[in-house]
Subunit: 467 residues, 2 copies
């Protein structure tokens, strides 16, 4: 399967593509060095590898034009949303053309009776929810960043409320995709379910732009719940917190969010937001339902928490209090920097079966301590998914080395517990070796066969995942 590897195209091919794009797209084309650098990887510690040029299409047909042109000259195509990938998805290791979808921002249709909508890939999740505000509906998936829907689909993103609403795989009904040979396909119709052929929708969701460019997404929407209750509870240990979440889910409480902050994260949040929370493992929980339902869920959760040694479960249905509570969680990523100003952050996203989460988090905390690394932990407990937000001094070669070794052990630990190296960030460049560790050779070969079948020239986002 080495024939998946393509080489960097020659300057003449790149120049030919650039000339045509410039003449077609005018000021929606750029090969300015700053713009190019902005379209390479900019987050975490993966090195920046800028594309040869950036183009801003406004329609599926324009994407077809770009892809066909690139295919004719064997020039790589790198789809770009908001650049908030954490794994180097938007880098251009072989150069090529970055297709920036930020000018494809139309909400094409909203269907309230069907609880769905059709959007272009450049719409961000917050823009979509702003657009939907007066409809009584919302789109739940919330990765930390205000990512584009196209990027979220491509990385199979999720966030804090996947435990209730699922991930992108569960909430994309259909896609329009420009394939590697410049054909437009629609993966499915707008029905809520279908058994008509291979599930191309879910093949392209999470394909990281390596099989085609997503140009239209049909999304499931949800009614804004009549009532929301949210609360916070402190626990003597990570295990007590996880056991509470497990028991609550088992008992059928339809928890909307259940987020773990470890002692270190609580400390950071205290510093950042001038709160005085006891520095113990904490669960932030949210319930959606009818007025009575949201109240009942919160009360039952409180009982379960106490049974597991938790402190008092303080909850509220007042929007302003809820907002304050979740602001602390959303600020956690930034709050962590107060623990070590100037540090570089790397967020991991191991995901293990729920029953192993406490053990995995606690072993990881011990490993961090032994490795003399600073890594506050937050977790989407309902999914068994947690982030170590490593704070690294990139100038300290020994620390960088210790971090690399820690990351290897973390992934190995997750794998040993039947987990995955990535719950929601994707493989990109940074996790290619972990993908190989996660799957057997035969499984990787199947993935590579698909890549080769759908992108025989290897031009779609090369150097990512299996390509």
């Amino acid at each position: 399967m080495d024939d998946l590897k393509i080489s960097r195209p020659g300057a003449s091919a790149v120049n030919a593509v650039k000339a045509v794009l410039f003449s077609s797209f005018g000021n929606r084309f750029s090969d300015n060095a700053t713009i190019r650098e902005q379209h390479g990887h900019t987050l975490t510690w993966t090195a920046n590898q800028p594309p040869d040029a950036v183009v801003y299409p406004q329609s599926t047909d324009e994407v077809v034009e770009i892809v066909k042109l690139c295919a004719a000259h064997r020039v790589p195509v790198i789809p770009y949303g908001t650049g908030t990938s954490l794994e180097g998805h938007v880098n251009a290791p072989l150069g090529g053309i970055s297709i920036d979808t930020s000018m494809m921002k139309r909400v094409i249709a909203v269907h309230p009776e069907d609880l769905d909508c059709v959007v272009e890939p450049g719409v961000t999740r917050k823009e979509l929810n702003d657009y939907l505000r007066d409809t009584g509906m919302f789109f739940p998936i919330d990765p930390g960043a205000d990512a584009s829907i196209g990027g979220m689909a491509s990385t199979r993103a999720s966030g804090t409320n996947a435990v209730r609403y699922g991930t992108m795989k569960d909430n994309v009904l259909a896609l329009t995709v420009v394939t590697a040979n410049g054909e437009i396909i629609r993966t499915a119709r707008r029905a809520k379910k279908s058994s008509a052929g291979y599930d191309l929708t879910r093949l392209f969701v999470g394909a990281e732009g390596t099989l085609g460019v997503i140009t239209e997404i049909t999304l499931r929407l949800f009614g804004i719940p009549e009532a929301i209750s949210a609360g916070v509870c402190l626990f003597p240990s990570v295990k007590a917190a996880c056991d509470t979440a497990i028991a609550a889910i088992q008992s059928g409480i339809p928890i909307a969010r259940v987020e773990l902050c470890d002692e270190m994260t609580v400390k950071a949040v205290n510093l950042h937001s001038k709160l005085g929370l006891p520095e113990r493992p904490m669960l932030l929980v949210e319930f959606h339902g009818s007025g009575a339902g949201a109240k009942e869920q919160a009360e039952r959760f409180g009982e379960i928490a106490q049974d597991n040694g938790g402190g008092e479960f303080q909850w509220t249905t007042r929007p302003e209090d809820r907002s304050k509570l979740w602001q602390a969680r959303h600020d956690a990523y930034w709050a962590c920097f107060t623990l070590r100003p100037g540090a570089k952050a790397i967020a991991t996203d191991i995901c293990v079966p729920l029953s192993r989460l406490a053990e995995c988090v606690e072993e990881t905390q011990r490993d961090l301590a032994e490795s003399k690394l600073l890594g506050p932990i937050v977790g989407h407990v309902g999914d068994g998914n947690f982030h170590v937000n490593l704070l690294i001094d990139m100038g300290d070669a020994d620390e960088v080395k210790r971090t690399e070794a820690f990351l290897e052990r973390l992934v190995h630990r997750g794998h040993a517990m039947e987990g995955t190296c990535t719950g929601e960030h994707g493989i990109g460049q940074a996790k290619i070796k972990y993908l190989a560790a996660e799957h057997s050779q035969a499984t990787l070969d199947v993935m590579r066969s698909i890549k080769k079948a759908l992108d025989p020239l290897g031009i779609m986002n090369p150097g990512k995942m299996v390509g």
Copy 2:
């Protein structure tokens, strides 16, 4: 893509395979004519095309042995569960070996804390739920038949409670698959979510055995709800019934089941079960929740039904009354035969966006009347999916012709409303032409590329879907 078509293997190839299988599997091998016929298609009007022989493996390794042998001799492989496919999935148009999974019935593991289990493909849904009875968990997907989990995964099956719990695509966490070249792959680990590579799980779910043989399935389970309420409500029209379901879903009531029976179905149920229900469109509804929650949901639903012109919503939480209610729904398929004893039944499964369901059902009822065809309708209203249970006198050539024309129009109607020709039964042999009508040539080409990449010899369940 014509090279996907393979020809029937010669007698010597088939005999060579049979000889080896007989020597390896002994009395777990059969080429008896009756057994072979039982393993060809037996339901609805698709003709029976028996395989050359049937073999009953007991492990993944034995499946590998069979597939490798068949691949070496270019002999087709047809995976077989319980034979309850409605679309000719188990037929052997080119002969070959039927792999009957009924001796792969182990429940390999149950993980209560993770709400999942691992099963072999021959376990049926009822067997699984019997096995789980004392655990407080259940597996919700319920196609009409007591199908095998392997078959349900392969057809992307669903049933009455997909509106709440999703379809097989949502409830399979991972698969072990024997690929067309006899390799064993595992599509994912046991974590609840993952972004690690192409979503092979969902590629094989719904692939109808055309890409490999599923030999192990990791399934999501759910806690048995604390309380269940269920009820029945009559409506002046199909539209009023559908509008009620839409409004209830929009308002956020987490309906577990909402099933439509049209006038004709109510008549059949009356005849079959000696009930005296008014012959009007009827919704059967079920709610899962806490004691207060299930009650509140039922009460709110009743109000919404009345707002939409529905009659009194009679509901109950008593298990024996609920069972009686759902028995009537489950009997509907058989009850329909009382309308025309001796008729052949064909169940369609168009699925459209919810907003179009009433229109689609009403147009279909008119079409049935004009075509002088008898076809009671039941629908999974929450999904926009409905079944016309056509009752046909196969001896009447004109009626058969009218039925074929009706089916064409029905699929065209569904497509015109952004729906799919199959919500849950799959393509198999019977819907190949509708698959072609549903997708563009470019989309079909992508599906065929995948088929060719993963089954280059074309031996996996040939003559189905795109093969």
